[in-house]
């Protein structure tokens, strides 16, 4: 127990460190950008005086290191921009305030997070299941037509650009067959059915694009595992093939699969830019891209931190999961 606590404690510290590094790196890279963050709030025509005013108001006139510490400080103490009646108050925890969108970054993220999470969870579950199932299926029929066909289909997914897949999906299912809505989002609370109904197509598109790695990884691992002695034992005991494959072999296949899954899911929780765009889903990905294009540093910082948080969290989760999946891989042993 003590050890577990220590392990978790160390990991939490590590996580914090990673988030600090990511936020600092983002900040530093941002200042490598040639663009001036105040430019977007400067107006047209943008005179140097107006630019200076905007910069001052947004706090971009200070040295960037100090801005970074102001940002960190804001998380604990909140921040106020400007003075007088027009001052903008961003109460703690303040992850910055977007002058482009007139809202605290945390609120912006809060608005979009449910959408991104809905998209990511649904899609990743589909691709994980479909991918692994395809891989296992392929492995059991190695070299046969079904194997090649399944692999070809999944590879079409990785080779095809996401945008194309989305567009064709919309054309086919949205217009030609007219079975699913092509855009928009309904919250889960409003109607779980509509929620799923609006997300089905994006889920499938994302799943199609991402399934290949899973299918191929599980196929390869499956082929390795099926030759092991313990599979022979499982068969000798008279276990149905379903159990032999679906339980005894599968568990051994999952180690690399869940690892990639954690990486992909973590990334996806940071937003799936193209899919969100094609299906007009206002998620974190769109928020981040807009932030980049509008040179909206606070949003950029906020979303990056969230995305990094998910990545770290997902990786932490699988690290813990390793021990469950494969006791030999238990950390610290």
């Amino acid at each position: 127990m003590n050890r577990t606590l220590r392990f978790v404690g160390i990991r939490l510290l590590g996580m914090l460190g990673v988030l600090l590094v990511v936020s600092f790196g983002t900040f530093a890279v941002f200042y490598l950008l040639p663009t001036d963050p105040a430019y977007m709030s400067c107006g047209k025509p943008c005179t140097p005086e107006n630019l200076a005013l905007a910069r001052e108001f947004m706090g971009f006139d200070k040295p960037w290191i100090q801005q970074y510490f102001d940002f960190l400080g804001g998380i604990f103490t909140g921040r106020t921009f400007g003075t007088g009646v027009t001052a903008i108050v961003c109460s703690a925890p303040c992850f910055g305030y977007s002058f482009q969108q007139n809202e605290p970054v945390l609120a912006l993220i809060g608005d979009r997070l449910p959408i991104t999470v809905s998209l990511a969870i649904g899609a990743s579950v589909i691709w994980l299941i479909a991918g692994v199932a395809t891989g296992v299926f392929s492995a059991l029929r190695r070299g046969k037509f079904a194997d090649r066909a399944a692999m070809t289909v999944t590879l079409a997914g990785v080779s095809a650009p996401a945008y194309l897949v989305g567009l064709l999906g919309i054309l086919l299912f949205g217009f030609t067959l007219d079975v699913v809505p092509v855009s928009g989002y309904v919250t889960f609370a409003q109607s779980p059915v509509d929620w799923a109904w609006h997300l089905v197509l994006p889920w499938l598109v994302l799943a199609f694009i991402n399934a290949a790695v899973y299918a191929r990884l599980s196929r390869g691992q499956m082929l390795e595992i099926m030759g092991e002695d313990f599979i022979r034992t499982a068969r000798a005991v008279g276990l149905p093939e379903r159990t032999v494959v679906g339980k005894y072999a599968l568990r051994n296949v999952l180690l690399p699969v869940v690892t990639v899954f954690a990486v992909d899911l973590g990334a996806l929780l940071g937003g799936a830019v193209i899919t969100e765009r094609v299906f007009a889903l206002p998620g974190l990905g769109g928020l981040l891209v807009d932030a980049v294009h509008q040179v909206d540093l606070p949003v950029l910082m906020g979303v990056s931190l969230f995305a990094a948080f998910f990545v770290v969290l997902a990786n932490f989760a699988v690290d813990v999961l390793y021990g469950v999946l494969d006791p030999r891989a238990r950390l610290g042993s």
């Binding site: 030759g227 092991e228 002695d229 313990f230 022979r232 034992t233 499982a234 068969r235 000798a236 005991v237 008279g238 276990l239 149905p240 093939e241 159990t243 339980k247 005894y248 568990r251 051994n252 021990g323 999946l325 494969d326 006791p327 030999r328 238990r330």
Partner: protein
């Protein structure tokens, strides 16, 4: 005799162009114990596997194997599944790789119970517990353990338990007692016998231990090079073997007390000294830690062979792991050549390891499945930067353990259990070690090959004068090779001394039981000994 249960007709098994089994025919009747003996690599395991359709895809099988009127080679999937585990129970030769490493023993047992019986999980668990207790295991702990947390002998008993779950009509047991100390082995054999008596279970017993054959077998089929060279009743075989090979085999059998009582050599300066060694394994899931070794002290002289015997799970392999630095002791000190392993620098450790040769208990998993056996044998040479042509040395080593030097390009899975074990021995000898740690090095070898290997060791020992820690449950073998012997029980040393005195006139109760339990290769004498042992163990 009544109608046969299983009948093999002209069974041939080929791997590509090589024939592993050639036109083998024999029968097993209900309630009969048939022993399949023969040279290592003669096709015993392959034959057994073929009956359940478990050979790899690279094998081709011809002939027929009829069980209860159905040809096992041609039955369809569902029927075969019924046979597997249900009608035929199978004990695999290498228990350490036979269990799924990522599931607890309990899970695997429960699944096996439910494979043929629609019972609740709880009921299945109950059955599993019952079986584990039957094979003399601490069911509470073992059910929750992962395979890698158990010793070789414990795993072997788990595998036996699995095979017995559904009270099969036929039990195929491929070397079921190789990793068991003699007392446990005696218990298991007793169990098999009672199974036959109670349920009429027929047993096809693959073994090289002629003592075991003498103990339980009704009939014996002798295999050599894939062919049946003799079929005989057990009594007949021991009394008047027909085939030349059988005679050879029986001649090679070692039995306790038969070794010439060698002069007790003066003890040389210790190369290895272990003081108050303790090892505790942490196990997951909140279970109490396992104290595998508990205050063991021993020394091995520079040219001494120290036999280490003791009950299965008593910590023998753990001690060897500590010596090789794979397991960190939780107490005590270990000195090799004057260097404390725990405090050695990386350099010193490397130097020490260069001088140690190790034969692992489980040959199957100790060989890299992706490396040819040639590469595996050459590995120590490569690791320690031996220059020059390794191929020659590899060929020499292969020949020394009675393997065809031309096999150096084979992969471990293409070998039989005994062949793999010999590869492990060859690897350990590659560097001409100063200390050899051999964990059950001959457990999978038939007596004739075992004799050669023991000769080899003796020759080398004479030549190189290395120190050796020899772990074995075969007391006759220990008696033959060891100078001194240490008896381990529950992680503690119970007795130690020169071989002749410890095995000849044991002082401790446990040792006495151990000696009494060692089977001898003579059905008559073995029956008497069995009675005696029963009396001793109450």
């Amino acid at each position: 005799m009544s109608e046969q249960l299983l009948s093999l007709r002209d069974v041939s098994i080929r791997f590509g162009d090589t024939a592993a089994v050639r036109e083998v025919s024999f029968e097993v009747h209900p309630g009969e114990v048939v022993a399949l003996v023969g040279e290592s690599g003669s096709g015993k395991s392959v034959t057994a596997l073929s009956l359940l359709g478990l050979l790899p895809g690279t094998a081709t099988v011809t002939g027929s194997a009829v069980l209860d009127g159905r040809d096992l080679y041609t039955v369809d999937g569902p029927a075969l599944r019924k046979v597997r585990g249900g009608e035929i129970g199978m004990v695999f030769q290498e228990p350490m790789s036979a269990l799924n490493p990522v599931f607890r023993i309990g899970t695997q047992l429960v699944d096996a119970v439910r494979a043929h019986r629609k019972v609740s999980r709880a009921a299945a668990r109950e059955r599993a517990r019952e079986l584990l207790e039957l094979v003399e295991l601490d069911a509470r702990r073992v059910l929750r353990a992962y395979p890698h947390e158990l010793s070789g002998g414990q795993l072997q008993r788990v595998v036996i338990a699995i095979a017995l779950i559904h009270d099969p009509k036929l039990l195929i047991a491929d070397e079921p007692t190789t990793a068991l100390d003699v007392t446990v082995q005696a218990g298991i054999l007793q169990l098999l016998r009672s199974l036959r008596d109670r349920l009429g279970t027929a047993i096809l017993l693959v073994t090289h231990d002629m003592g075991v054959v003498a103990d339980v077998a009704d009939r014996v089929v002798v295999l050599r090079d894939g062919q049946v060279v003799e079929q005989n009743t057990a009594a007949g075989l021991f009394a008047s073997p027909q085939a030349e090979y059988t005679r050879e085999l029986l001649d090679s059998v070692l039995s306790l007390g038969s070794a010439p009582a060698g002069a007790v050599r003066p003890t040389s300066a210790p190369l290895v000294s272990v003081t108050d060694l303790a090892v505790t394994y942490r196990v997951g899931g909140g279970a109490p830690p396992v104290r595998a070794v508990d205050g063991v002290s021993l020394t091995i002289g520079t040219d001494e062979v120290l036999g280490l015997v003791g009950e299965s799970g008593s910590g023998k392999s753990t001690i060897s792991s500590v010596l090789t630095g794979l397991v960190a002791p939780s107490g005590g000190t270990v000195q090799v050549d004057g260097v404390d392993i725990a405090r050695a620098s990386a350099r010193q450790r490397r130097d020490i390891r260069r001088q140690i040769g190790i034969v692992f208990q489980n040959p199957a998993s100790a060989l890299n499945p992706r490396a040819t056996i040639g590469a595996s044998i050459a590995e120590p040479l490569v690791v320690h930067g031996e220059r020059g042509e390794h191929r020659e040395r590899v060929a020499e080593l292969l020949a020394a353990v009675r393997l065809d030097p031309g096999w150096s390009g084979r992969y471990p899975h293409e070998l039989s259990g005994g062949q793999r074990q010999r590869v492990g021995i060859a690897r350990a000898l590659a560097l001409r070690p100063r200390l050899l740690i051999a964990d059950e090095p001959t457990s999978a070898l038939d007596v004739s090959v075992q004799a050669s290997v023991l000769d080899l060791l003796a020759d080398l020992q004479r030549e190189l004068a290395f120190a050796c820690l020899f772990i074995s449950h075969d007391l006759a073998v220990v008696e033959r090779v060891a100078d001194r012997v240490v008896v381990l029980h529950h992680g503690k040393v119970v007795e130690e001394g020169p071989v002749a005195s410890v095995l000849g006139s044991p002082r401790e109760d446990y040792t006495r039981r151990l000696v009494a339990a060692a089977p001898v290769a003579d059905p008559e004498r073995q029956r008497e000994r069995r009675e005696a042992w029963r009396a001793l163990s109450g």
